[in-house]
């Protein structure tokens, strides 16, 4: 099925009432989650995952993905109006977005952010449509050694890009990999690290871990703040029209942000956040008036907002074509597909075209819905911020508890949630990113399986395993990314150190 044919087929699926409704619920929840500081899209997706069990796989995927990209739209609203990022991908937006609000251009900033997000989201979906299909065709030829190299390389890259200390990122990866070994061994059926517990032999579920690390940890941080209400700038609909000059200033940054974001999404790591910083730096470098950045530059809002939306689309490529998630959000989407009996990967596009194409088409529809929702209804979304934070924190915590329990009606999941909530809170206080742990937990079992299969194929010859052309190329790229930056800084430092002596 070609891209045009596939897309038309996908629209037929996405336009069914149930899928349209799922898409609407997803983008609506995503926008609200994005608007509310603290509750990120990952926690919200994990929270709503149990409610998708009764749905079709395509419908579940449509709804959960809607939360993911919807949050990027909502996050900018809080950043622009309240000077607080609604979610991590909007941190950069507030630098110039809030300054525009202070200058009375809040409406224009919101409109540019929404249109930029729409354009980038739509272009990103075109990228997914083309890249995922192509990559899936290539990936059909991949065997266990190649998959092992991709998972290992992905984890190495993620550790480098997740920000903060590399050693801390490796510690997170190690914990995730270790957690992934708990339960029944998929090859020998031997129980490992279960300590006699029947529930543990099923393994540690991803959802309570994510809910704990992101949801409960965030609630504990909100609880720390106590009773707090935000002061919010009001915006009228008639103020939501940027001037012709503002549109002209935002066009090129939106185009560049879309490209930067999509490419960032393909690489393991916090793409939605990273892409905004790259886009902002790029726009500042290309600008004839870089001194305006931080003072309310239109390009400082347009570029990063486009980038974070395109990044969410780019992140779908490795998930849909290889079945490998490189971020916690795509890990949840993978979990949703697996729960519904689907194995994302190169064969999914040909074997379950209704899921792949229905999902792609729904992203076009979702982006359009978000544009319609975010421009005229921004006042309603902002009013959510008037809900006292301590009430919000309590309700989110209760939802986390019910959500974790409802996964498999297991009390163990509640304890896992609590434990990882406390651990996540500690990590947040120490500013350590937990995403390598989550991705390692998802990729760990796949890595073990493919490594053991690959060693079996190569009769235990590790050299044969790592010197195959594709595996060698993937591992070399990952290694270069890992040791390249410290080596470069060492080379740069040497002449400086040598200068006084010379």
């Amino acid at each position: 099925m070609g891209p045009i044919e596939g897309l038309l087929y996908g629209f037929g699926i996405a336009f069914t009432p149930v899928n349209l409704f799922a898409c609407f619920v997803g983008v609506l929840v995503g926008t609200v989650v994005g608007v509310l500081p603290g509750i990120g899209p990952v926690g919200a997706m994990a929270l709503l995952l149990p409610s998708t069990y009764a749905l079709d796989p395509a419908t579940a995927l449509i709804m959960l993905a809607g939360i993911y990209y919807g949050a990027m739209y909502g996050g900018s609203t809080t950043a622009i109006l309240v000077n607080v990022p609604g979610e991590a991908g909007s941190v950069v937006t507030l630098l110039d977005g809030y300054q525009m609000t202070r200058r009375g251009r809040a409406g224009a900033a919101l409109a540019i952010a929404a249109v930029g997000s729409f354009v980038a989201g739509t272009l990103g979906v075109v990228g997914v449509m083309l890249a995922a299909g192509w990559l899936a065709d290539v990936a059909v030829a991949f065997g266990p050694p190649e998959y092992f190299a991709i998972t290992l390389g992905g984890l190495l890259l993620l550790s480098r890009l997740s920000g903060g200390s590399l050693v801390h990122a490796f510690v997170m990866v190690a914990i995730g990999l270790a957690l992934g070994t708990v339960g029944m061994d998929s090859i020998s059926a031997l129980r490992r690290f279960t300590f006699g517990s029947v529930q543990l032999s099923q393994g540690i579920d991803l959802v309570p871990v994510i809910m704990g690390l992101y949801g409960v940890a965030e609630v504990l941080l909100l609880a720390e703040e106590g009773i707090k209400r935000a002061s919010i700038a009001t915006v009228r609909l008639r103020e939501m029209f940027p001037t012709r000059g503002e549109w002209r200033e935002s066009a090129a940054p939106i185009a560049r942000g879309s490209l930067v974001g999509f490419l960032s999404g393909l690489v393991p790591g916090p793409a939605a956040v990273l892409s905004t910083f790259i886009s902002y730096t790029l726009e500042k470098k290309l600008s004839k008036t870089p001194e305006r950045f931080g003072q309310g530059a239109v390009a400082g809002v347009a570029g990063p907002e486009a980038a974070n939306n395109a990044a969410t689309a780019g992140a779908m490529v490795p998930l849909l074509s290889l079945g490998i998630p490189f971020s916690p959000a795509t890990a949840i989407l993978l979990g949703a597909l697996v729960i519904h009996g689907l194995q994302p990967g190169p064969l999914m596009i040909s074997q379950r075209p209704e899921v792949f194409w229905g999902f792609i088409a729904s992203m076009y529809i979702g982006n359009f819905m978000l544009l319609v929702l975010n421009l005229p209804l921004v006042g309603i979304f902002v009013s959510v911020l008037r809900l006292p934070q301590h009430v919000l924190a309590t309700l989110v915590m209760l939802l986390c508890l019910v959500g974790a329990f409802s996964l498999s009606n297991s009390y163990l999941d509640l304890w896992v949630l609590t434990l990882f909530g406390l651990f996540g809170y500690g990590l947040r206080k120490l500013r350590v990113d937990p995403s390598p742990l989550v991705v390692a937990l998802v990729l760990g079992p796949m890595m073990e399986k493919t490594l053991r299969q690959a060693l079996f194929i190569t009769r235990g010859d590790v050299l044969d395993l790592v010197t195959r052309p594709l595996t060698a190329a993937i591992l070399l790229i990952a290694l270069a990314a890992l040791i390249g930056p410290p080596l470069l800084s060492l080379v740069r430092r040497r002449p400086r150190a040598a200068a006084p002596a010379g």
Binding site: S51, A174, A178, L399, L401, V402, F405, L455
Partner: protein
């Protein structure tokens, strides 16, 4: 201090994980057993946790935590109240059932965070009944009902 403590705990857990992993059948490199991969992961975990711990102990003590301002004890109290409510919920849910546990949890957490009693009770009743209706009735999730 928090970082050092957490890393020492992780190192201890990694060492315990290694001791459990090496008890599993290792197999051979050409045919790895159930313990081969966990042992490799455990060795990796011990090495990186050890490096991180050494780094933390060699570095000067710097407060890496967020600025807590002047009301640090009140902040700690609120977090502790939330954690206690969370742990208590996990303990009592099997015996008293979801509606009562959810009500008690919501009220306790709101009071702990500084809410007034009438607000906490009103929110608690609405949250417990609303979530029970949504999950147990509409979504058919078998939430524990307790002895009632």
């Amino acid at each position: 201090m928090v970082e050092r403590g957490l890393l020492l705990l992780i190192l201890a857990v990694a060492a315990f994980y290694l001791s459990e992993a090496i008890r599993l059948p290792l197999g051979a490199t050409a045919r790895p057993g159930a313990g081969w991969y966990p042992t490799a992961v455990a060795v990796f975990a011990c090495i990186v946790a050890l490096i991180a711990a050494v780094q933390a102990f060699r570095a000067p003590v710097v407060r890496r935590v967020r600025d807590t301002g002047g009301d640090a004890p009140a902040r700690r109290r609120r977090v502790l109240a939330t954690v206690m409510a969370l742990v208590a919920f996990c303990f009592v849910l099997p015996s008293i059932g979801y509606p009562i546990a959810a009500l008690a949890f919501t009220v306790a957490m709101l009071i702990g965070l500084g809410s007034r009693w009438p607000v906490a009770m009103g929110t608690g009743v609405a949250a417990a009944l609303g979530s029970y209706y949504l999950f147990a009735v509409l979504l058919d999730v078998p939430l524990p009902r307790g002895p009632w």
